[in-house]
Assembly symmetry: C2
Homo-oligomer: 460 residues x 2
């Protein structure tokens, strides 16, 4: 039936959905998609409950970006496949880099505003330089900081006579850099509510006339815009989505960075701080990574999620997101699970209403910690890995993020066991009865709290 | 040891090669690469023979572009792998096209000046529109003709409410269109022999000043240049190879075509000849298709070619290009072969000396004929094929070009058998003796000619 970007947001759409479900006498409706689809499922479920519709609502977390997170969710359907296709392509480029030793490859990966895919692909392929948007954002870094970061690596490699290398860039980088985020926001605001014709006229005016830019943007944003190369200004101003917003996937951040790095290196060369040569080649890995035949892992996950959705509906549960645990084990040992959609709600910047948010890369996650441990070695080591194309025979191999996430959960379990053991040991025969009393009152309070939280979670 | 673009052209390089071969007392030297490498091998072999060097020279035809052709050569090493990686990516994009049904995808494939890869990938994936440079060149078509050709297909699909589709474009298209070929030649000439600094200044001058362009280019080429969008003019003038030539892989022909098609469609819409909507998405599939882990077919071909090279050298043969026949059969039934390099010589446009040329797509080949039979169905049928990633288990599958080439050879053999049979039947008992005399004299002459040609070929 195909992919759609339609959303279930208006009262009218809800009513129409209700009508169709009742006409067809559906026992369940399964919505498959990203955090936006999960939010829609939540709304629809509330609406169905209010209206007394008997159709059960179930959501399947499916997004290549991997940005739906929850402590009980180990994997988004599609992430494994996309990460493997992108890693195959990155690996091929790395083979080229290591073989011809004359280019710096700047590779941008599709993936909206989060860097989960870039992080996973970096762990799979070990590039010389990886930009994780959330990392730079956490330090309030500017575009110049990113350029300097890359230049430092280029210079360090040049000193070892390596005038080649590989850089991974997430699609959404610019929206994570404070000044650029603001610039993009301001531009979006300028175009908002205008007709296509007005937008078209305005964008050409802004592209050609710096005075006009200063009129509609804050001085700071106008200055930033002026500092960008022509092709980026063009992409920010002229190539807009039908809704008027900046078309994120059309901003060639890889070319912008390659161009700015080239400029900065010229400066450093003039100052005697850099003696190498710099030939950049840019690549954008877009839709070709997102519509692959699925990996073995995703095939099994898809059928597990689908089956679980069916079981939930048959058993009369509504308002759940399917999940599965123990995904590092062979599929036969996976544990199907379900998460109340209501427990996935988070802070929203997009609207005032409750919704299930897109999750950024957590800088405290095992995946990012693993990356932090390794990325410095990759600057010089050239231990490029080319994982090759997805194979449909042999043992399935789960992606590294999911593997580490699983380890994260297991280590939480371990922590509880260890703490209980420690307390048990500290409270053995001979200890003061004051200590025992403190332990007992606190443990009892904790036990009651846990029971309450568990009940509440199950209620939802 | 890595890939190099070094060439063996000067007397000095030859002498150095000789010296090294003699120092190491090498029995053979195997050169692996494209038609340029084959030409170098030929030169080196001549030089070694003249100089009495005992090292034997052998070449392995290895080029992803698939542009080394000879009646006795069924496959270039690397072509199978590249065609499969590109087809995987094209297939993924097609899955996206068929699923979201809202974009026109313009995909450009790397592959220098020939369209062998595009032809093979089209046969594997069945896109709605395929541009084979040699086909358009054979009709002396202009860029406008190519744009019209694509527009006609977009319009035809729009009439069936299909405002989406897929277009395959070879990297070297522009060099095949007479006016653009001339423009590129003129630009190259303008920059030739200038220092990097002079080139840089000149290119900026030309980019900004139309009067200067008219000064150095013919009026016709200047007009063509002026008619191109800014980003293409920039790529033609500003982003040049270190040697000064136009950097073919950096000209974003896919964006140029998408932009020109968009313009033409607007015109047609204004005239009431087109009612659809047109959202292009462009992709360039470059190095990521050229450095893959090899397909099973290429693994087997690589070891067969390598082994054959060893055998030739051990047996004392020099000046040969390795080959293997019967490649559609399982590898155990392949027939190792060798082709005298001298027999591969062809016309050169690049230099006055004899060399082994890059072969264009032969419009009379089985592969092109197969494409000609099918491409019209693909305009509407949406029988997109996604062959998926290369698999390392299971039976190897040979690419379609090689399969058809083999069929070509077999059908030549068959033709000879059939003709002999026909003549035999026509010359049975009872036929006029005049007929017999004609047959005998002609057949005898043919037999002698064949013997002579075979001797000559073996001599070389």
């Amino acid at each position: 039936m195909g992919r759609t970007s339609d959303k279930l947001r208006t009262r009218e759409q809800m009513e129409k959905t209700k009508q169709t479900c009742e006409e067809l006498n559906l026992s369940g409706l399964v919505l498959i998609g990203s955090h936006l689809t999960l939010s829609d499922s939540l709304d629809l479920n509330e609406y169905f409950l209010q209206e007394g519709v008997t159709t059960k609502v179930c959501a399947v977390p499916t997004v290549v970006d991997g940005n739906i997170t929850h402590p009980l969710l180990e994997a988004n359907l599609g992430f494994d496949t996309a990460s493997k296709v992108y890693s195959q392509l990155i690996g091929n480029i790395m083979t080229d880099a290591a073989s011809c030793k004359k280019y710096w490859y700047f590779m941008r990966l599709m993936g909206r505003e989060t860097s989960h895919l870039v992080l996973e692909c970096a762990l799979q392929t070990k590039p010389n330089c990886t930009i994780i948007s959330e990392d730079f954002e956490s330090r309030d870094n500017t575009l110049n900081d990113v350029v300097d970061y890359i230049c430092d690596i280029v210079c360090a490699r040049a000193e070892k006579k390596k005038n080649f290398g590989t850089v991974l860039i997430p699609e959404g980088l610019l929206t994570h850099l404070p000044y650029l985020k603001r610039l993009i926001g301001e531009i979006d605001q300028v175009f908002k509510g205008k007709t296509a014709e007005e937008q078209h006229r305005l964008s050409i005016e802004l592209f050609n006339d710096q005075a006009k830019v200063k009129e509609v943007l804050t001085p700071w944003s106008a200055a930033i815009l002026e500092s960008l190369p022509d092709f980026t200004r063009r992409q920010l101003l002229l190539e807009r989505e039908t809704g008027g917003g900046v078309q994120l996937s059309q901003i060639e951040t890889e070319k912008l960075l390659a161009s700015l790095v080239g400029k900065e290196l010229k400066k450093r060369k003039a100052e005697g701080r850099y003696k190498g040569s710099f030939s950049p080649v840019t690549h954008f890995f877009g839709y070709q990574g997102r519509c692959s035949l699925p990996s073995q892992f995703d095939c099994q996950l898809g059928s597990t999620y689908g089956y679980t959705a069916g079981v939930l509906i048959t058993a009369g549960y509504t308002g759940y997101c399917v999940s599965a645990r123990n995904l590092v084990a062979p599929a036969k040992d996976w544990v199907p699970a379900a998460i109340p959609l209501i427990s996935m709600i988070g802070k929203s910047t997009e609207s005032s209403k409750l919704h299930i948010p897109s999750s950024q890369v957590d800088l405290k996650s095992k995946a990012f910690k693993e990356f932090s441990k390794l990325y410095k070695q990759w600057i010089h080591a050239d231990t490029y890995a080319n994982p090759g194309p997805i194979q449909f025979e042999g043992e399935p191999v789960v992606n590294i993020t999911t593997k580490l996430k699983q380890r994260e959960y297991v280590s939480l379990l371990d922590d509880v066991t260890h703490l209980c053991n420690d307390i048990g040991k500290m409270c053995q025969f001979g200890v003061q009865d004051e200590v025992l009393r403190i332990a007992i009152s606190n443990l009892a309070a904790l036990r009651d709290t846990i029971a309450l939280v568990k009940d509440k979670l199950e209620e939802n």
